[in-house]
Subunit: 307 residues, 2 copies
C-alpha cells in the first residue's frame, strides 16, 4: 500500500500542476485490480433493485460494496476498454465516441478498485478515495475540454472593504473541479463540478454554491454538474447494503435553493431514474454525460427542467 | 464507559419523549468530571489568542482541547453553578437571570466533559457527543421556553403530487432543535436551532435551511440560531491546537444564501467577535443568548444586520 500511496501522490502532483496523468491512473488501477484479485476474496453482500453488490475481504478489512455487473475484474478487458475510451475522445465536439456503459464501467472500476484497496488496507486515509475520483474525472474531462481552463474554485468579484480586516483574500466558491472559458463576448463561462463518492447529507453544498454563483454572476454563467459514483453503502451492523436516496430533498433544493443542471452517477440509483425525480433535474450516468450531454453543457446550453 | 453510554441513552429517551432530563444530565456530567480527574491527566496543548487550551490523556487516548478558563474541574463548583442557573430561569420572560459567563462555563463543562470522555474511552462513537450537546441545549431551552413546542423538524406545506410516487411523505426541513408556537394570528412562528460542536465545512446547512424556510413560509416566520461549542480542534499531526474560522464564508452565505439571526458559542472565537463579522451577523456567547437575546428572538424580533 505504500507503493499505491506514493504512486497516487505523484499522479496528484502532476494533476495539480495542470497535467492529465491518465497513464499513471491506468497503472494505479491495474495495481489495485491485481492486489484485490491476489490478496482478497469477494463474496455477495446484498441485492438492491435486483442489482447484485459484492464486497472484497482480506485479513482485518472489508471493502465498500461494488456492483458486480459494472466492475471489470479482468486486467486485459479493463486496459482494452480504457485505451478505446481515450482514443475516442473528440475534443472538438467535447465528447467521447463510445458506448456510455463502457465509459461507466471503466471509470467505476478505476475509482472503486482504488477505494476498495484503501478500505481494506489503509482505512485511516478516508479522504484519499474521494481525491482519486476527483483526479480521475478532472483528468479525463481535461482531455475532453482542452480549450477550457481547469481550476478548483470560482473567484468572486467581491471586495472586502472592511478596514483593518485580516481577511483580505478575495472571496471564492471552492469546489472539486471547475472548467472555465472566456467566451467571445469576453465573459467567463464555467462548469462547476462537485465530485462525491456518495452524496449523503452533503448534497446541500452544490446547491448552495450554485445559489451564490447565480447571486453574484447572474444565472447561467456558471452551471453545476454533480458527479458521484453511486449512493451505495455498506451497512456493517446488519451485514447488508444500503442505498440512501433523498428525492424529496433534491426536489426541495432544486426548487428553493438553486438549480443544478444535472446529477450523474457511474451506478445511478434506480430510484433517481424515475419520472418524479427526472421531472425536476437531469439525472443520468456519467457515460451519458460524456457521450450526449457534455457538448451542450459546455456551450452553456442547459437542459434544466423547471420544478 | 458502559455506564455512561447507558445513562445517556436513558436521558436521550426521556428527551425524545418530550421531557427535559436536566437532573440526569447533571449526574452524567459529575460522572464524567470524576472519571477525567481520576483516570486521566491534563496538560497544556497550545494557546490561541492568549487563551490556554489543555487536553486530557489516558492510556491510549487523547481528548479534544478544552479552554481551561471556561472548564470547571471542581464538582462542587459545577453543581452549585448548575443549580443556580436552573433556579434562575425566568420562563415568563424567556431568559436566565444569571451572569452570562457562568452559563457558558457550566454548559461548556457539561458538554466538553462528556465529549472528552468519549474521545478518550469510546472513540468509535463519534456522533454521541454532538447528540449530548443537542439534548443539553434542548432540555435547558425547554425550561426557558415552556410555552413552545419542541421538535426536530419543520414540516413544509408542499404536497408531492406525482402519481405513483413512493415518496409520499410530507417534505420537511430536519435540524437539531425547533421551538415553535402558534401566535395569536394563528400563524406558527419558530426558532430553528442547529447545534454543532464545531461548524467546519458544515456551516452551509443552516443557511440553506433558512433559505428554504424563507422561500416556503416567507421571511421571519422561522428564524435560525446556530449554537456551537467552539471552533477549536486538536491538530494531532503538529501537536497543537487549531481554530478554524471562515469569516469570508459566513459573509458570503449571509449575503447570498439567507440570513441567520445569530451564531452563539460557549467559547466564541476571538476572530468572530471582530467588527467586520459582527457587521453581517449577530455573534455572541450562549450565555448572552440566554440572558439578553432570547427574549427578543422568541417574540420574533430579530436583530439582523443587513450585509
Amino acid at each position: 500500500m505504500d507503493k499505491l500511496d506514493k504512486d497516487f501522490k505523484a499522479a496528484k502532483k502532476l494533476y495539480d500542476g495542470g497535467s492529465n496523468p491518465l497513464v499513471q491512473l491506468w497503472e494505479i488501477t491495474l495495481y489495485c485490480l491485481r492486489k484485490l484479485s491476489d490478496e482478497a476474496t469477494s463474496r455477495e453482500q446484498g441485492k438492491i433493485d435486483n442489482k447484485r453488490y459484492y464486497v472484497y475481504e482480506a485479513k482485518g478489512g472489508i471493502s465498500r460494496p461494488y456492483f458486480r455487473d459494472l466492475f471489470i475484474t479482468s486486467e486485459d478487458h479493463f486496459t482494452r476498454t480504457w485505451d478505446l475510451i481515450i482514443k475516442n475522445i473528440d475534443s472538438k465536439k467535447h465528447l467521447i465516441n463510445f458506448p456510455p456503459n463502457g465509459i461507466d464501467s471503466v471509470l467505476y472500476t478505476s475509482s472503486m478498485a482504488f477505494a476498495m484497496c484503501y478500505d481494506i488496507w489503509k482505512n485511516s486515509s478516508r479522504k484519499t478515495p474521494g481525491t482519486y475520483l476527483e483526479v480521475l474525472l478532472g483528468s479525463l474531462m481535461g482531455m475532453i475540454l482542452p480549450d477550457y481552463k481547469r481550476t478548483k474554485h470560482v473567484p468572486l468579484p467581491i471586495k472586502n472593504v472592511e478596514e483593518g480586516s485580516e481577511d483580505n483574500n478575495e472571496e471564492s466558491v471552492s469546489t472539486d473541479i471547475v472548467f472555465e472559458k472566456k467566451m467571445q463576448t469576453g465573459e467567463v463561462f464555467g462548469l462547476v463540478i462537485p465530485v462525491k463518492i456518495t452524496t449523503r447529507e452533503r448534497i446541500v453544498q452544490p446547491f448552495a454554491h450554485q445559489r451564490i454563483l447565480d447571486g453574484v454572476f447572474g444565472p447561467a454563467r456558471f452551471n453545476s454538474i454533480l458527479i458521484c459514483i453511486s449512493e451505495m453503502q455498506l451497512d456493517k451492523k446488519n451485514n447488508k447494503v444500503n442505498e440512501i436516496c433523498v428525492p424529496g430533498t433534491i426536489r426541495l433544493f432544486q426548487k428553493y435553493l438553486a438549480q443544478l443542471v444535472g446529477i450523474f452517477y457511474f451506478d445511478p440509483p434506480v430510484r433517481y431514474l424515475q419520472d418524479d425525480v427526472r421531472e425536476v433535474i437531469l439525472i443520468g450516468s456519467v457515460g451519458e454525460l460524456f457521450t450526449n450531454h457534455l457538448p451542450k453543457l459546455s456551450k452553456g446550453q442547459t437542459e434544466q427542467v423547471v420544478p
